[in-house]
């Protein structure tokens, strides 16, 4: 459909949640805003392919998610390096309990496999139905449900169970918790 005023307003109204999705996926504010910008440009360039009356946020999220995944493959090595530096930064930061808890959660979320992380965010934070999340990720509804369940179970192990060694090193999280006393 053509870019009407109301469609443009609807796209603008989706920007805050697109940014939140992008930051949750990438863990990096600058990169997230670049993703959002690229998403908006793609959406506007392909606005003719948007079906009037269909779910605009889901359409925009699909574009952003696909951009992130193609970008992620390119930057994989760079991201791994950044993870190491990010962990070092955390250990040296002064502890503020709210900030600390937030960082701890952020670190745990980053440890999830990408499929599980995006499914959890779409359903648990963006508020999409399982059906919409499945359409955004291009997979079956049952697959989304299973990814969300695995994501929740892994997060609870990382954050709330001592000795979750099955889930790989979580020394960063422990170091942060351990350093908060006194």
């Amino acid at each position: 459909m053509p870019l009407t005023d109301s469609l443009r307003d609807d796209i603008l109204a989706s920007v805050p949640s697109l940014r939140a999705f992008a930051i949750s996926l990438s863990g990096n504010g600058d990169r997230a805003d670049d993703l959002v910008q690229e998403t908006l440009l793609r959406a506007l360039a392909n606005i003719d392919s948007f079906q009037p009356g269909s779910n605009l946020p889901a359409w925009l999220f699909t574009i952003l998610r696909n951009l992130f995944r193609s970008d992620y493959r390119k930057r994989r090595r760079e991201v791994e390096d950044a993870d190491g530096n990010y962990a070092k930064t955390l250990k040296t930061q002064p502890a503020q309990s709210a900030h600390l808890e937030f960082e701890e959660f952020r670190v745990a979320l980053d440890k999830l496999p990408q499929d599980q992380r995006e499914a959890l965010i779409l359903v648990g934070a963006s508020g999409f139905s399982y059906e919409d999340a499945a359409a955004i990720c291009g997979c079956a509804v049952g697959t989304i449900k299973s990814r969300v369940n695995r994501a929740r179970s892994k997060l609870s192990a990382l954050l709330y169970v001592d000795g979750a060694d099955d889930f790989g090193p979580d020394d960063t999280v422990r170091a942060v918790i351990g350093g908060s006393g006194g």
Partner: protein
């Protein structure tokens, strides 16, 4: 199954084996939404408002999508 029980005992309030503890799940849900909503509350940065506004007006290039609004 004793192994399952010993693992579950490490959780603050043990749930049934194979089922996620509801209290923990509600904390995870709360943290996830808090993190997300923190960004949502920041609204639309000027950068994006201007980008959309600029694209609205037909550009001289005839292909507005190419003007990405970066400085």
């Amino acid at each position: 199954m004793k192994d399952v029980k010993s693992q579950a005992s490490k959780v603050a309030a043990p749930g049934k084996p194979g089922r996620l503890n509801t209290e923990i799940q509600s904390r995870i849900g709360h943290q996830l939404r808090a993190m997300y909503d923190d960004v949502v509350r920041q609204g639309v940065p000027d950068r994006f408002a201007e980008l959309i506004k600029k694209l609205d007006a037909p550009g001289p290039s005839g292909d507005p999508a190419k003007n990405d609004g970066r400085d």
